[in-house]
Amino acid sequence: MAASSKKWVLGIIVLAVLVPLLQPVFPDVVSNYRLFLVSTMIIAAIAVLGLNLLTGFNGQFSLGHGAFYAVGAYTAAILMDKLNVPYWATIPAAAIVCFIVGYLFGLPALKLEGHYLALATFALALAVPQILKYKWLEGLTGGVQGIVLMKPEVPFGLPLSEDQWLYYFCLLVMIVLFWGAANLLNSRSGRAMMAIRDQYMAADTMGIDTALYKTVTFGISAAYTGIAGALSACAIAFVAPDSFGIFLSIKFLIGLVVGGIGSLLGSVLGGIFYVLVDNSAQSLTQFIRNDLGLPFDLSAYTVFGVLLIAIIYLMPMGIAGGLYMAYRKLRGARA
């Protein structure tokens, strides 16, 4: 990473840490609700990063990352609900469980490529809610009703609201995970991952253990998304099978494609983006109904679908790629 971009990242982190402290000054701008929203964006960014590690940097497709998100969320929820594990300890637990599940799913995925892997993961995404409702697991998962949890409490008597604390907690996890991902990608292993994406056969010939790298990447990717799931279980304080359907996986795909495939910054942008659209669809619908007078319920997914296709046509590398190109052009014009 170049020194200038390091400065940028540091600046943004400092800003992110300071913002909640401005709440007494601008109570309307930095409301608790907004902080909660930003927390969900952070969670989304982590989930998209997980998918990006697999698809963007290793070239394996997944339309079923909602499954790992669900496993993470349920791991956290069950640990908190049944074993009274503190919420922060569920994050590493979810990571381990999801790594194992992802690694195991990565084994059959080794034999599949392109469309077939997409098909297998798509099938996984479709089946997840049913698996979660399975009768034998009902004692653990709470069946159709799901599990209701407690929101994380503010520790050490810090003078923070619940939402502020949640925000800091998510921010901390995100910084650690992105730091980890950046270092992984900059290492020998990261280069091997990308070599497999770019030239599978050449990578194999160079002596890279492709099978090992692909399955472990699947595991790491699942672990990242699973951590996001565990965080969301803490944040929303509720898990239920039907919130982990195919459309959750589609949202991750949206984040990936819109933000930028194969870009860390893109994962953040993608996460922010899909939460934003998801949340503003309702007000957009109201705008269409009341101000334009059209009897039409705009769903976030219409926007998502149109954008997915538009991005593929106009900006195949997503927002991050587009920004980078614009930056390069500006620099070129100056030089």
């Binding site: 698809t55 497709f61 339309l63 059959p108 034999k111 599949l112 392109g114 469309h115 077939y116 997409a118 098909l119 297998a120 798509f122 099938a123 996984l124 479709l126 089946a127 049913q130 698996i131 409702k133 399975y134 009768k135 034998w136 056969m201 195919i246 459309f247 589609i250 795909l253 494609v257 495939i261 039409f296 319920d297 705009l298 769903s299 976030a300 997914y301 219409t302 998502f304 679908g305 149109v306 954008l307 997915l308 296709i309 991005i311 593929i312 046509y313 195949p316």
Partner: protein
């Protein structure tokens, strides 16, 4: 025993639906190497169109035929407008576009017709006949309609010049182009036909699963399983796969039921149908990707 036969019959009817959707998937796969993830949602959308036509006072069969024609046009338009420009795009782009289409169709259906579950009429008489009421009239009708559609398609591809041209375009585009086949349009026609066949499946199944924007999710998964079991590059195999998977699905649920009755242990039932399909998909993909009747593709590297 009677229960077993009933399960078998309803498996046959489900299988007919899966066969239709699987056939639609295979038609697109054979000619373009793409797996259409939006096939189910396209069929669902067509079904809503037919519902709308019927609620405007058309009779079932008129609405049926009109819908099949509209779906054909819709399929052709999607291919020409959205997929044609991406002819040489990487696989990921194609998959993303399909997922985009899926999201659009699903949410548009919800926007136009709401997410409330609607009843869908059946054109067949209510009375049960056949062997001691083992098979319902609607189920029998579904199987019949499917067989008619398959027969028509077979005749079309086997005995008409256009069908021959389409097969040529799918098998060897370069040579087909050399002998004057307009390969581009053949692909678009294939898409149109796939959308039509999907529409038939949607209209037939809507009476059973009720009409709602997410009705095709599970069916699409089973259609994937069917296409894979039969061999995703083989249309006849896909149809056979549809019936096999349909019957297998009900037999698994039946067996689970019997085990629960006999031992009181619940292992598997109706609630695990999608999981069964998932297992079939992954099993076939990893163990025998060519399916039962597919051709093993050897690629030179």
């Amino acid at each position: 025993m009677e229960q077993l036969l009933q399960q078998f019959a309803s498996g046959l009817a489900n299988g007919a639906i899966y066969a239709c959707v699987a056939l639609a998937l295979v038609m697109i796969y054979v000619s373009t190497d793409h797996i259409n993830f939006a096939q189910g949602e396209m069929a669902m959308f067509s079904t809503y169109i037919s519902w709308q036509l019927m609620s405007w006072g058309m009779s079932f069969w008129v609405a049926f035929i009109l819908t099949v024609m509209i779906s054909f046009a819709m399929g052709v338009l999607i291919e020409r407008l959205i997929l044609r420009p991406l002819h040489n795009a990487p696989v990921l782009s194609i998959i993303v576009v399909f997922i985009g289409l899926l999201a659009i169709f699903n949410s548009m259906a919800g926007a136009f017709w709401s997410y409330l579950i609607k009843e869908f009429p059946s054109p067949f008489p209510k009375s049960e006949f056949g062997i001691a009421g083992v098979i319902g009239a609607h189920q029998l009708g579904v199987v019949l309609v499917t067989l008619i559609v398959l027969g028509l398609l077979f005749v079309f591809f086997r005995y008409t010049p256009l069908g021959l041209a389409m097969r040529a375009a799918a098998q060897n585009p370069q040579m087909a182009r050399l002998v004057g086949v307009r390969v581009d349009w053949m692909l678009a026609l294939g898409w149109g036909l796939a959308a039509s066949v999907g529409a038939v499946a949607g209209i037939m199944v809507a009476h059973i699963v009720y009409l709602e924007p997410n009705m095709m999710g599970g069916i699409l998964l089973y259609a994937f399983a069917s296409a894979l079991v039969g061999g995703i590059s083989n249309p006849a195999g896909a149809v056979a796969g549809g019936f096999i998977v349909g019957i297998l699905e009900n037999m698994v649920a039946y067996a689970g039921n019997q085990i629960e009755k006999a031992t009181g242990v619940y292992i598997i039932g109706n609630g695990e149908k999608l999981t069964v399909a998932l297992i079939i998909v992954i099993f076939v993909l990893t163990v025998r990707p060519a399916g039962l009747f597919g051709r093993v593709v050897v690629r030179r590297v």
